[in-house]
C-alpha cells in the first residue's frame, strides 16, 4: 500500500488548485453529513489518505445498485473519489472477463491483503450453489474466499444487507444476507432498493478519508444517514400533525401535497436519508413526488404487509376464526349458565 499515491497527490497531478481542493473538502463534509467546522480536518485527512483497493461482488441482484451508483452526480467532485479508489473488480463495469477478470480479483486480493474493501450487492443462495455462479464459482465460495483478506465488507443494497427480494417469502433459493455468512469482519450495510448513490459514495469516502468505517445502528447501517426516520425528516410532517391526509391518490389532499400516511406510507418506520439527501441530484424523493415510502431500506420490507396498507392497520386473521371464537363463546356461556342454574337450584333447595 505504501507505493500508492495519496489523494492529495492525485488531485495535484490532475492540476486541481487549492481552492478546488477546499471545494472538494466542503462537499465531502456535506456528503458525510459532518458539520462544516470539520472541513480543515477533512482536508488534512484527505491530503494524506491513500488509494484503497475495492473489489465489488455481484450475486443475486438486478444491477440496480450499480445503476444507482454510476448515476450519482459522479463527474469531477465526487468522481474524484472514484478516481481515488482503485476499483479492481466489478464484473459489470470492468473490461476484462472470464479468467482475466478472476485473475484481476486474485491479484488485487494478494497485493492488498488485509487492506482492501469488499463491496457486495445481491444476496447469496444457500439452497443450491448452482442457483447463482460467476465463472463457475458459487456465490458462497466467491464471497468467503474474497472476504478472507478484506479490511471490511460493505453490503450495498437491501439484498446484500438483508436478503431483499430473493429472500422474500417463500425464498425459493434460500437466499441469505452477507451478514448471515460473514461473522469475523466489520460489515457496513447500505440498504435501499436501490440505496441513495450519495450514501454509497459517503461510506467509501469516509473509509478513504479517515481510514475507518462509520458508526452504525443495530442493523449495521451508518447512523449519519440511517439515524432518523423518513417521517421525522419529512417536509410533509406538519400535515400529519394537523391531521391533513390524502385519502386517495387523486383527491384534494393528494393535490395539495398532504401527508400520505393513510395511503400506506412507511416513513415512520423507515430509517433513511431520502427526505434530506433526496434523489436525482437533489430533485425530490418519493413522498415529494406524491407516492408513499415503501420502506425499502428496512429488513424484509417485501413481507411487511401491503405497500398501500396504512402502518397502523392490524392483521386480524380470518373471519372464520373470529366466528369460531364466537361459537366457542356461546358454548362456554351455555356451560357457565348450566353451572349457574345448578348452583341456583342447590341454594334454593338448601333455603
Amino acid at each position: 500500500m505504501k507505493n500508492k499515491p495519496t489523494v492529495g497527490e492525485i488531485l495535484q497531478a490532475k492540476g486541481v488548485s487549492r481552492r478546488g481542493f477546499l471545494k472538494y473538502c466542503a462537499t465531502t463534509a456535506s456528503l458525510l453529513a459532518l458539520p462544516p467546522a470539520m472541513i480543515p480536518r477533512i482536508a488534512k485527512a484527505i491530503e494524506s489518505a491513500r488509494r484503497p483497493s475495492v473489489i465489488w461482488l455481484s450475486f443475486q441482484e438486478c444491477t440496480g445498485c450499480t445503476e444507482s451508483l454510476t448515476r450519482s452526480a459522479a463527474p469531477t467532485v465526487e468522481g474524484l473519489i472514484f478516481d481515488a479508489i482503485s476499483l479492481d473488480y466489478h464484473h459489470t463495469l470492468q473490461a476484462a472477463s472470464g479468467d482475466q477478470a478472476e485473475a484481476a480479483r486474485h491479484a488485487a486480493m494478494e497485493e492488498n491483503e488485509g487492506g482492501y474493501l469488499v463491496l457486495v450487492d445481491g444476496s447469496i443462495p444457500m439452497g443450491n450453489p448452482g442457483f447463482s455462479t460467476i465463472a463457475g464459482i458459487s456465490n458462497y465460495d466467491m464471497l468467503m474466499e474474497t472476504v478472507a483478506g478484506a479490511a471490511a465488507v460493505v453490503s450495498i443494497g437491501t439484498c446484500a444487507a438483508f436478503g431483499g427480494i430473493p429472500g422474500a417469502n417463500p425464498n425459493p433459493t434460500g437466499a441469505v444476507s452477507v451478514g448471515d455468512l460473514v461473522k469475523d469482519k466489520p460489515i457496513i450495510n447500505v440498504p435501499g432498493c436501490p440505496p441513495i448513490p450519495m450514501v454509497m459514495t459517503a461510506v467509501l469516502t469516509q473509509f478513504l478519508t479517515f481510514g475507518q468505517l462509520p458508526e452504525v445502528d443495530k442493523y449495521g447501517r451508518p447512523l449519519a444517514f440511517f439515524g432518523q426516520t423518513i417521517h421525522d425528516r419529512c417536509y410533509r410532517r406538519p400535515f400529519y400533525e394537523q391531521g391533513k391526509f390524502a385519502n386517495t391518490f387523486d383527491d384534494e389532499g393528494a393535490k395539495a401535497g398532504w401527508c400520505l400516511y393513510k395511503l400506506g406510507c412507511k416513513g415512520p418506520t423507515t430509517y433513511n436519508a431520502c427526505a434530506t439527501v433526496k434523489w436525482n441530484q437533489g430533485t425530490s424523493f418519493p413522498i415529494e413526488s406524491g407516492h408513499p415510502c415503501l420502506g425499502c431500506s428496512e429488513p424484509d420490507f417485501w413481507d411487511k404487509g401491503g405497500f398501500y396498507e396504512p402502518l397502523s392497520t392490524g392483521n386480524f386473521g380470518s373471519g372464520a376464526k373470529v366466528a369460531g371464537a364466537a361459537a366457542a363463546g356461546v358454548a362456554l356461556g351455555a356451560v357457565a349458565a348450566v353451572a349457574g342454574r345448578r348452583r341456583q337450584a342447590k341454594y334454593t333447595k338448601e333455603a
Binding site: A26, A29, P35, T76, G79, L80, Y235, G257
Partner: protein, 130 residues
C-alpha cells in the same frame, strides 16, 4: 409541451425551515460582530419542501457582490442583501449543484488566494524569467 404541466396539482407550500434558518443567521451575525467568529450553515442536510429553498434565497436576496469560481466546476459566491451573509453554491462540471452553504463571515475563505496556489504561481511566474 409536456402534458405533465397540465395536471392540476396545487402543492400547499410548507416553509417551516425558512424562519429557523433566518434565526440561525441572526445569531451567527451576532457572533461575527461580537467575536469575529465565522459560521457556515450547510443547507444540504435540511428537509426542504418543494420551492422552499427558493423562498429562502429570495428572502435573503442579492447584495452588492457576486463572484464566480471555476475550479472542479463552477461555484457562485454571492453576498446577500445582508452584508456578511454569503450564499455559496458549488456545482460540478455537469452544472449540477453539489453543495449549498450560507457562510456568515467578512469574506468567504474560498475567495482568498490560497498559500499553496500563491507558491505554485510564484514558481511558474519565476520560470518565465529563467
Amino acid at each position: 409541451m409536456t402534458s405533465i404541466d397540465n395536471i392540476g396539482v396545487q402543492v400547499q407550500a410548507v416553509h417551516g425551515n425558512v424562519r429557523p434558518i433566518l434565526n440561525e443567521v441572526l445569531h451567527a451575525l451576532d457572533k461575527l460582530i461580537d467575536n469575529n467568529e465565522t459560521t457556515i450553515i450547510d443547507l444540504a442536510g435540511l428537509p426542504f419542501g418543494p420551492g422552499e429553498l427558493d423562498v429562502l434565497e429570495e428572502t435573503l436576496g442579492k447584495g452588492e457582490l457576486s463572484a464566480q469560481l471555476d475550479a472542479l466546476g463552477s461555484s457562485r459566491i454571492q453576498e446577500t442583501t445582508y452584508p456578511g451573509v454569503w450564499w455559496i453554491e458549488h456545482r460540478n462540471a455537469h452544472d449540477e449543484v453539489v453543495g449549498r452553504y450560507l457562510e456568515i463571515t467578512r469574506i468567504p475563505e474560498i475567495l482568498s488566494s490560497q498559500d499553496a496556489d500563491i507558491c505554485a504561481g510564484r514558481v511558474s511566474l519565476g520560470e518565465q524569467f529563467e
